[in-house]
């Protein structure tokens, strides 16, 4: 054990899985010599050599496309895309291929690969370095989407993602890459995909979030009797955990930083409106980004849900 950051936890997960299974290989821009622009892959080139830690040319489509080729051939590639905004150039490969190869070949070929990418607002980087585009990926059948919130679950979830037999998009909360240090076992452990974590039990409000926003949600919950759910796996998400909680609390607030319209919060709200409607005592509130693209650094703190806004939503649902 030892207190480490999310960056280090991910690094550990990669190193352990690479040591355990020689089919696990890494590829991406600047991940080798440079150790990645966030240093997530620091030291791995030295440890595993250039055939397993591949610095690629600048081409996201090809990073995804060649990872697919490696995966169907029998490797377990873990590709890094430097920022989530740059995964847009790889969407066709994900949507038309990674997600469909198993189905298209009726199981003859499979695509066990991971795309790791930092996401979210908070690092005051240039435009398109702050995207939170999970719902695009969540809409696409055949792939999984994961977003850790702590060093502990970052390690365990990434290990599961690497071992998963289909493509997993692994979204790393850049704004808390180094902000949180926590105890993480030095042993190898896996946290199952598809299961949410109840961070705090409570009786009056179900508060659902993930990634960096989870911490704001937790902060905002002080003084309220919240059941706080860390979704962790965004696709397929843990429907039962949410429904069960809402059946108990009767109130639901969802917090995410992506723009609200057609965000993942909508699916969670819709699920509850379909399967637990009569348990609801209050409107389902989504505290999310406004209807605008993520702004540049000087306004980014205005865009992203603030603790005060979350508290307001909690107050609002408690009015019912």
């Amino acid at each position: 054990m030892g207190k480490i950051t999310i960056v280090k936890a991910i690094n550990q997960a990669l190193a352990e899985e690479m040591a355990r299974d020689e089919d696990v290989v890494l590829l991406g821009e600047d991940i080798g010599q440079d150790g990645g622009v966030f240093r997530v892959t620091d030291g791995l080139l030295e440890k595993f050599g250039p055939q397993r830690v591949m610095d690629t040319p600048l081409a996201e489509l090809a990073i995804a496309g060649t990872a697919i080729g490696m995966a169907v051939y029998g490797l377990r590639p873990v590709a890094e895309i430097q920022f989530m905004g740059f995964t847009y150039g790889a969407l066709e490969q994900v949507f038309s291929h990674a997600s469909r190869i198993r189905s298209r070949s009726r199981g003859r070929f499979t695509c066990p690969m991971v795309i790791r990418t930092p996401y979210g607002i908070g690092i005051k980087a240039p435009e398109l370095h702050s995207e939170s585009a999970e719902s695009l990926y969540c809409h696409m059948p055949g792939i999984k989407v994961v977003a850790p919130s702590t060093p502990y679950n970052a390690k365990g979830l990434l290990i599961s993602a690497i071992r998963d037999d289909d493509m997993v998009l692994f979204m790393e909360p850049a704004s808390i890459y180094r902000a949180i240090k926590a105890e993480v076992p030095t042993e190898n452990y896996a946290i199952p995909l598809g299961k949410a974590a109840i961070m705090q039990e409570g009786d009056e409000i179900t508060l659902v979030s993930w990634g960096a926003m989870l911490h704001k949600a937790m902060e905002a919950s002080e003084g309220f009797d919240c059941e706080i759910i860390d979704l962790m796996t965004l696709k397929p998400f843990d429907e039962e955990a949410i429904l069960e909680s809402v059946r108990k609390t009767g109130r639901l607030v969802i917090v995410h930083e992506a723009t609200k319209n057609c965000g993942l919060g909508a699916e969670i709200a819709a699920l509850v409106a379909e399967e637990a409607l009569f348990y609801l005592k209050a409107p389902v509130l989504r505290v999310a980004g406004p209807e605008a693209v993520t702004p540049m650094a000087s306004l980014e703190d205005e865009y992203v849900p603030k603790v005060a806004r979350i508290r307001e939503a909690l107050k609002d649902v408690m009015k019912y």
């Binding site: 591949m54 489509l61 090809a62 189905s103 298209r104 070949s105």
Partner: protein
């Protein structure tokens, strides 16, 4: 120092058997009679399958179909130059490649009926499902080839795409990766001079596609795609290079799409019969047949035997394909991922696809 030439590139063109069936003895690869006949058989089987598939489509027994008429040389010649363990990443117009590799014909027919099971390749056959988004399969071959290097396997990867496909970013990124990683991959462009209605000279201002290779530090060659032996030789040479660790090759097969783009297309809207007629005379079987006859390898009798055999195989495949039970609706969901999600189980129940 000032304005100086720092590099010079040549673009080469290879033809071994000309349109009249005459071969260049110095370039002819060392092929046994058996091997030469194997090529002929594959071409005949491809053409027979193609003809019957078009007929089945007209009868509504399969769906939209993409004819390969005229491209049998490029497909068969390249596919037969490879080893059994090699991996193929095709587009949707490589029926002749599938057939040359021994792919079950009935599965091809199931595919064109719109049945995913058609693309479930036999376990010992490394041929990837047809890729519908044009060009998007190219990087897969490169990735597989990179994996071969990593795993120190002696296989190679081959990808096929059209002149249209050569305009997509996938081509560029794929060739560039292959060059950088010295991946054992062959890029086969079937330049059939049309991308639906767009003629080759409006697909790019460059005169050949082969000349793009230099931009990636990769060797490239234009081959007469209607000369099956030239395609074979060029592919064999590229495969040799790849297996020797010398990296990728781009082969442009210069050929011609004799039929409509697909059965849903009407090419009379954009090209003339004369244009097609000109190319009809250059199609690959005419010259290869003359070549074999001149060599004394093929005669009327043997030809009939081969043709009859092909007919028989395709007819049996049609019967087999049509005897297959329709796919189960639940398969739509079941093959999405390794395990079913809660939502998927709900869906299967709600749709009453299973109890």
């Amino acid at each position: 120092m000032p304005l100086k030439i720092i590099k010079t590139f040549d673009v080469k063109f290879l033809q071994i058997i000309d349109e009249s069936g005459r071969a260049d003895a110095g370039l002819l690869p060392d092929l046994t009679t058996e091997e030469l006949l194997k090529i002929y058989r594959a071409m005949i089987l491809s053409r027979t399958f193609n003809r019957m598939a078009l007929a089945l489509q007209r009868e509504g027994r399969i769906g939209t179909y993409a004819s390969i008429l005229g491209q049998e040389g490029a497909e068969t010649g390249s596919a037969l130059a490879l080893e059994k363990g090699d991996w193929i990443f095709p587009s949707f117009r490589e029926t002749g490649v599938f057939i040359s590799r021994g792919y079950p014909l009935w599965r091809m027919l199931r595919y064109w009926r719109g049945d995913e099971r058609g693309m479930e390749a036999p376990a010992d056959m490394n041929i990837f499902p047809m890729s519908v988004p044009v060009g998007s399969q190219i990087t897969h071959a490169v990735g597989a080839a990179m994996a071969m290097n990593i795993k120190k396997d002696k296989n190679i990867a081959v990808t096929y795409f059209g002149d249209g496909g050569s305009s997509r970013g996938d081509f560029h990124e794929g060739l560039n990766f292959a060059g950088v990683f010295k991946a054992p991959v062959i890029f086969i462009c079937q330049n059939n001079q049309w991308a639906i209605s767009l003629p080759r000279n409006r697909q790019s201002a460059a005169e050949t596609i082969a000349q793009r290779a230099a931009g990636y530090g990769v060797p490239g060659i234009q081959v007469d795609g209607n000369d099956v032996v030239a395609v074979y030789a060029a592919t064999a040479r590229a495969a040799e290079r790849a297996r020797a660790g010398e990296g990728p090759t781009l082969i442009e097969c210069f050929t011609y799409r004799l039929d409509d783009h697909t059965t849903a297309d009407d090419s009379s809207r954009y090209r003339t019969d004369e244009d097609v007629a000109k190319w009809q005379k250059k199609e690959p079987l005419i010259r290869y047949k003359i070549f074999l006859e001149n060599k004394g390898i093929l005669n009327k009798e043997l030809d009939k035997e081969i043709t009859d055999e092909a007919e028989g195989l395709v007819k049996a495949a049609v019967t087999e394909a049509e005897a297959v039970a329709p796919p189960a609706p639940a398969d739509i969901i079941k093959y999405t991922s390794a395990t079913l999600s809660v939502r998927q189980k709900k869906d299967i129940k709600a749709l009453k696809w299973e109890k």
